[in-house]
């Protein structure tokens, strides 16, 4: 393929004094070209993105104070997002004398199981996850927890983002200190 027919017809005469032209091979060494080809391939593989960014739907509730008090204690699970990717949770409502039993800390790895256990143990109509983000939690945490809801197939309307109360914030601070999270 890379060769060409170089054998000339030999029609012209060559006298005794005429030097025979040295026949050069037209075979080109393609190794450098192959090198270049693969170099460019690697370059393109590294610079381009195959994965397209996706979009996640976000539905915010209307601010409606009447709607907020309708959550049943038995079906509620409050998930609190703290700094350093820490997750805290409690079921129902915090009761002053049982706080230390109720308020537990976990992480993003284990929260999926907890969400699922709660979902299976609760009547779907009563089920409600309340998500509260700390000032020091990140955007990633907020998206991750919403993603966990999608992963565990919690129907929309059964989870909501709510502002954190001061008591909860204090509890997180205490737990952080106890666990040595800076």
């Amino acid at each position: 393929m890379a060769e060409m027919d170089t054998s000339s017809g030999g029609s012209h005469k060559k006298g005794p004094g005429v030097k025979k032209a040295k026949k050069l091979s037209t075979r080109v060494d393609l190794t450098p070209m192959v090198d270049l080809g693969f170099l460019l391939i690697t370059f393109f593989v590294f610079t381009t993105t195959m994965s397209q960014s996706t979009a996640m739907n976000m539905n915010e509730p209307k601010d409606d104070p009447e709607q907020q008090l309708k959550v049943k204690n038995s079906g509620a699970m409050t998930i609190l997002l703290g700094k350093n990717d820490q997750v805290y949770y409690y079921f129902g409502q915090l009761e002053a004398d049982k706080v230390s039993e109720q308020f537990k800390s976990t992480n993003f790895k284990d929260i999926r199981g907890l969400i699922l256990t709660k979902k299976k143990a609760t009547n779907i109509d009563d089920l409600m996850y309340i998500i509260k983000s700390d000032k020091e939690s990140t955007f990633k945490n907020a998206i991750d927890i919403l993603d966990e809801m999608t992963i565990s197939a919690v129907p929309p309307g059964h989870y909501a983002e709510v502002d954190m109360t001061d008591t909860e914030y204090q509890l997180i601070k205490q737990t952080e200190q106890a666990n040595g999270i800076k």
């Binding site: 192959v34 960014s53 996706t54 979009a55 996640m56 976000m58 915010e60 983000s133």
Partner: protein
């Protein structure tokens, strides 16, 4: 006894075929991939299991690592209307020439009161030096922007707008920055928007995984 002659073969291999393959792959990669658009704002979005592709044309609010908010108006047909609207509602006193210059800029990352002076400059301010659009609760200019945007997409274009509103945030942005953006949306009675994420596979064995048709 005659020696057995081993025919000596040349070790030079014909590289033509390999060369063909290399360039075939090269052309495939060039054609199949999309070149990354030059990103002035480097942001690593979080991951989600959502599989919907982000639309190309969009109104994008970007939150950078340090919590600055930037706005990109990707729909050229409405961009002028939006800028005109904010010019009149917020009294920026921009001339037609300044508006045209503003329209050419890629994204908005300045407080409204700095817009006029920045347009007088001969060069654009680099993104890293822009302070971002103020979003705190006392002066949430993002909500002014969103009002102008909703004004521009009045009537039938409303549905189109819902598809286009995107928020892209860096992984390490603190939550209050995102909350301010949400507040701006709520103030304008926009309850639906979308978050730009990187696609991620649905974890095997999860509820969502089991409910998906195989």
């Amino acid at each position: 006894m005659p020696k057995v002659k081993i025919p000596r073969k040349s070790t030079a291999i014909d590289m033509t075929a390999m060369c063909d393959v290399a360039f075939l792959l090269l052309s495939f990669f060039i054609l199949a991939t999309k070149q990354k658009p030059p990103e002035v704002l480097s942001v690593t979005p979080p991951e989600s299991v959502s599989s919907k592709a982000a639309p190309d044309k969009s109104i994008l609010i970007t939150l950078t690592k340090d919590g600055k908010a930037f706005l990109m108006l990707g729909d050229d047909t409405k961009k002028e209307d939006i800028l005109k609207d904010i010019n009149t509602t917020k009294g920026l006193n921009l001339s037609a020439g300044e508006l045209a210059k503003w329209k050419k800029q890629g994204f908005i990352g300045l407080p409204l009161n700095q817009i006029k002076s920045s347009l007088a400059l001969s060069t654009e301010i680099p993104a890293a030096q822009m302070p971002g659009i103020p979003t705190d609760s006392t002066n949430n200019e993002m909500s002014d922007w969103l009002r102008s945007i909703t004004n521009a997409y009045k009537g039938t274009a409303q549905n189109k707008l819902q598809e286009m509103l995107l928020v892209k945030g860096d992984n390490s942005v603190l939550y209050p920055a995102f909350k301010n953006i949400k507040q701006a949306f709520k103030k304008n009675e926009i309850y639906k928007f979308r978050i730009v994420t990187n696609g991620e596979a649905v974890p095997v064995g999860s509820e969502l995984y089991n409910s998906q048709p195989k």
